[in-house]
């Protein structure tokens, strides 16, 4: 048993977005359909007990806002327009690290893969949602939707 729960996934995801990017998330109570221009980032992990993946899904527009926040720049700045995917990849990298410590403690070594960003595919998204041990949908202050999944 990993000990994962939606509450832990929410706590860790919220903490990392706040500390790394000053993005404040709440649980998304009114889930709307995905927009067309979405991105998905996937990262594998291996703990002494199990191996699995974590997934974040968000709009490209939100990832640019995320990059701007992380860099302390305006989201209209041309230099941040191509950094959205890298930004959400780094955020997932941090979430995985904090999650491994939360679930398995800091006395064991957990191996983290590299974040892989890809275009959003509805079929794959549904598969993640159905197979995830924990799955949450979040909303940031301006309403952008961010989904997080923990899959073993």
């Amino acid at each position: 048993m990993s000990g994962i729960s939606n509450e832990i996934l929410f706590d860790v995801t919220k903490q990392v977005f706040e500390e790394a990017a000053f993005v404040f998330l709440e649980m998304n109570d009114e889930i709307e359909d995905w927009e067309e221009d979405m991105v998905q980032v996937i990262m594998s992990f291996q703990s002494p007990e199990s191996e699995g993946r974590m997934v974040l899904s968000a709009s490209n527009e939100f990832t640019i806002e995320l990059a701007a926040n992380m860099l302390g720049m305006d989201e209209d700045d041309e230099t941040v327009l191509d950094k959205g995917k890298a930004a959400i990849g780094e955020i997932l990298n941090m979430i995985c690290g904090v999650m491994m410590e939360r679930l398995y403690g800091d006395e064991v070594i957990c191996k983290l893969g590299l974040p892989e960003t890809q275009d959003f595919e509805v079929d794959q998204f549904e598969e993640f949602k159905q197979t995830a041990e924990s799955y949450i949908s979040l909303a940031e202050e301006m309403g952008a939707r961010i989904d997080a999944a923990f899959i073993i």
């Binding site: 990392v16 500390e19 790394a20 990059a67 992380m70 860099l71 302390g72 950094k83 890298a86 930004a87 780094e90 990298n93 941090m94 995985c96 690290g97 904090v98 491994m100 410590e101 800091d106 006395e107 064991v108 070594i109 957990c110 983290l112 590299l114």
Partner: protein, 131 residues
């Protein structure tokens, strides 16, 4: 005269975030150099005076620990402290890295005070800025 810092990470956005965070820390910084991996870092270390290196672990061509080992084999570089920045939070892993020669370790996500505390601890507090 402030600190001369080298940030080594294959992620451009993390290099930029680390630079921004160091600049927010209140440290008196002269210049922050950037390198995308250990090979580029050694090129900079060959030509520039550097007080402290902040490096990622996993990078192409030369990892953070390969950089530490290369610096340890060079009489001109072996006294420059290397601090690893990583998402790995295991105490066991951090102890392994400390035993292999790193000076300190910063876990992601990081805050400005993490950099300030470590630079002051490793290099002393004579260069603190007046911010």
């Amino acid at each position: 005269m402030g600190y001369r810092i080298l940030v080594v990470d294959d992620s451009e956005i993390i290099r930029s975030v680390v630079k921004k965070t160091i600049n927010m820390s209140g440290l008196n910084v002269d210049v922050i150099f950037e390198a995308g991996d250990g090979v580029d870092a050694l090129d900079i270390l060959d030509t520039e005076w550097i007080d402290i290196v902040f490096a990622d672990l996993n990078m192409p061509r030369m990892t953070g620990m390969e950089l530490v080992n290369s610096m340890a084999d060079d009489n001109l570089l072996d006294n420059i402290p290397v601090v690893i920045i990583s998402s790995e939070h295991s105490k066991v892993r951090i102890k392994e890295l400390m035993d292999q020669g790193i000076k300190a370790y910063i876990k992601k996500p990081f805050r400005p005070e993490n950099f300030k505390d470590i630079v002051v601890e490793v290099l002393g507090d004579m260069n603190m800025g007046g911010q």
